[in-house]
């Protein structure tokens, strides 16, 4: 080993320490960067020549240190789990948001909700029974209560449609974001591939890409599978959203506005709309809201409205109005959207029981039909019971989704903690490294100065 090669050894030690200091600095500066994975210098000791040169006599020693590369510290399995858990979690979040909006639409239990209005409507029939003559105040009051009731039902239906609409728009927004992110991932893949092929470090690019992939998973439930040259493919069940350096676009399919019994809203591959399997993520939650939760709620509300109209109109027909004619229908409509009070004349309300005569004569003031009507409040299949059942169902479903959200958040947090444990920057560790590399640098410099002085000695010796 020559003196000059000793100097070389010192230089390699200096540059390794310098490089390690740089990486420590990079870690420290990105300690709070989202998606950043801590980096480590991979260095190995240079061995001397393994096969000695011909006629070589000396014992070959080591020859300094080499930087092999800078690694991202990352656990692929944890990343995959994170994608799955994040996807489930954001799907549940979207579902929970829908449920809580539906719950606030109905605002039950309260003294002003639909159930209370139903109860006042039935009570006003009892009030009519007390004073069933023509043109009495209870008749007008009853019609007003009926109008308030139908107004509430229609307003609630309208709110549900509005909610459907805004959820539908959200689907389009998310699809746009997904398309943008998929394009971005493909571009980053290309950049990473060329960096990797040219032997450079693509750590920061990979971090950026992996953060995007996680967002894609949160939006669509997609999963990533690593490919050649540091490239990652993003797969929806059965199809590739990103394959290597090319990406596919998604689009939403189905109706833009809420219609009863309309086609379901779906996600397809652009441009044909071939169905794409969205296995989780926010989109799954939104689609569930659009295709199941909101239509089901509207359907239940429709059943309440239909039952109300049917029961009241049937009982109306069995009684006599103030002029002695059989009662005309009070309500029109069979759904929550078109439930209306058809009657305009308060005297058309059938309060009395009796047999109609021809020509009609004012019926007895027995209020029998009105009393019978008020009894329908307790009908087992009546609007009150249907609405109560609906609220219980809604409550149970919302509650169970809430519980699942809590559980899923705990799972997600646990996985995120595990990821942070592997990939996160620890200040203490970096500071320790900083000190270690600083010492290494000083020692290497000292070493060079010692070699320099030995060479000095040698050179001066021959003077």
């Amino acid at each position: 080993m020559s003196g000059f090669s000793s100097l070389n050894l010192g230089v390699s030690a200096l540059s390794a320490a310098q490089r390690a200091l740089d990486v420590t600095g990079q870690n420290l500066s990105n300690a709070n960067t989202d998606g950043y994975s801590r980096q480590r210098v991979q260095q190995s000791a240079n061995s001397g020549p393994v096969v000695p040169a011909m006629y070589a006599k000396g014992v070959p020693g080591g020859d300094g240190v080499t930087i092999n590369g800078i690694d991202r510290v990352r656990d692929g399995f944890l990343e995959l789990r994170a994608q799955q858990e994040h996807s489930t979690s954001s799907s549940l979040d979207a579902t929970q948001q829908t449920y809580s909006a539906v719950e606030s639409t109905f605002g039950e239990p309260s003294p002003t909700g639909l159930s209370s209005q139903l109860a006042s409507f039935w009570s006003s029939w009892d009030g009519l029974a007390n004073d069933p003559g023509a043109g009495t105040p209870p008749r007008g009051l009853l019609l007003e209560n009926a109008r308030a009731l139908t107004g509430t039902v229609r307003a609630q239906d309208d709110q549900l449609s509005q909610q459907w609409l805004s959820t539908r728009q959200q689907v389009d927004t998310v699809v746009d974001q997904v398309n943008g992110m998929a394009t971005q991932v493909a571009k980053l893949n290309a950049a990473i591939r060329s960096a990797t092929l040219s032997g450079g470090s693509a750590n920061e690019l990979s971090d950026q890409r992996d953060a995007l992939v996680l967002q894609l998973a949160e939006a669509t439930g997609a999963t990533a599978s690593p490919g050649e040259d540091g490239v990652v493919d993003v797969m929806l069940a059965g199809g590739a959203l990103v394959r290597g350096t090319s990406s596919q676009q998604l689009m939403s399919t189905g109706p833009d506005t809420f219609r009863r019994g309309g086609d379901p809203v779906g996600i397809g591959w652009a441009p044909g709309g071939q169905p794409a399997a969205v296995g989780g993520g926010k989109l799954q939650g939104l689609l569930g809201s659009l295709n199941a939760i909101l239509p089901d709620t509207v359907k239940s509300l429709d059943a309440v409205a239909a039952s109300l109209a049917q029961i009241v109109n049937t009982q109306q027909a069995q009684g006599l109005d103030a002029s002695g004619k059989p009662g005309a229908p009070l309500f029109t409509g069979t759904t929550a959207a078109d439930l209306q009070v058809a009657m305009t004349d308060p005297n058309g309300v059938a309060a009395a029981t009796g047999t109609p005569s021809d020509p009609p004569v004012p019926p007895p003031l027995n209020g029998g039909n009105a009393t019978a009507m008020s009894g329908h409040a307790a009908d087992p299949g009546g609007p009150d019971a249907l609405f109560r059942d609906m609220m219980v169902r809604l409550g149970v479903q919302a509650q169970s989704v809430g519980t699942r959200v809590d559980t899923q958040n705990a799972v997600k947090n646990q996985v995120d903690s595990a990821r942070a444990s592997v990939s996160g920057v620890s200040m203490d560790e970096e500071m320790t490294n900083l000190v270690a590399y600083q010492h290494a640098y000083s020692a290497a410099a000292q070493y060079i100065s010692v070699i320099s002085s030995t060479m000095d000695t040698l050179i001066n010796m021959t003077r």
Binding site: A31, S123, G133, M427, M431
Partner: protein, 301 residues
Amino acid sequence: MSFRVTSGMLSRDSLQGLQANLSRLQRTQEQITSGRRINRPSDSPVDTATAMRLRAQQQQNTQQGKNIDDGLSWLGQADSSLSQASAMLNRVRQLTVSGLNATNGATERDAMAAEIDELRSSLIGVANTDYLGRPIFAGTQNVGQAFDAQTGQYQGNEVAVTRNVSSDDGGVPVSLTGKQAFGTLFSDPADPSSAGVLARISESLRSGDMDKLNADLGNLDAAAQTMREAQSLVGARMNRLTGIQTRSTTQQDSLTAALSATENIDLPSTIMDLQVQQTAYQAALGVTAKIIQPSLVDFLR
């Protein structure tokens, strides 16, 4: 596996803990400010259903309370009318008995007959008493008056007005029909040509037909008996309604209590919860402030 703990993890976990603490606090605060334990169906689906049912029942109960009040007014009106009518009948009886007395001459009997005619129209007026525009002795018939003011003919029907006072009792009758209260005073089905007992008495007084007068005294007593029975019937029905009213008020109280127990918070325990959560939150804040600050940076010189 030894777990690396990084400062990022620490701050994330602390933040999550603080968030969880805060969201519990917010929940309790919502309960305290609204005074309600259930603010949405998912807070407790079963209690939501119970609360909705109780509230509907409460409303029904309130309406039945109004029905009872209305019924009591009807019966009260009937009671006072019948008391007035009884007093008048007593006077008629006095006049009839003294008319039977042979010492009275035709002039006196004519005067008595005139007074009885007056009493008859007053009685018809009492029998036509109305409540909120409805004659109370006409049954459910849709007429302006129970008895024709001139002929005394009954214009009502035999169906009592009922009030829906409770889910168990159903319709309770709150009126008496003209026949039940006034019997044959103004018209007599057995003698359709006459205008009832009172008219016959005044006729007999004028004509001096003592036998007929004697017979109608008996009829008058029978009519008075009918009226007394009617009065006691009114009393009995009032008693029944008052009983139902008491029960209904008690039921309303227990409904309110049940609704409150289902829906409203238990204030002391909720405030205790709030205190505990606040303490926990403050402790978490303190600990977080301690943990987040130091790292090796602070100690390397």
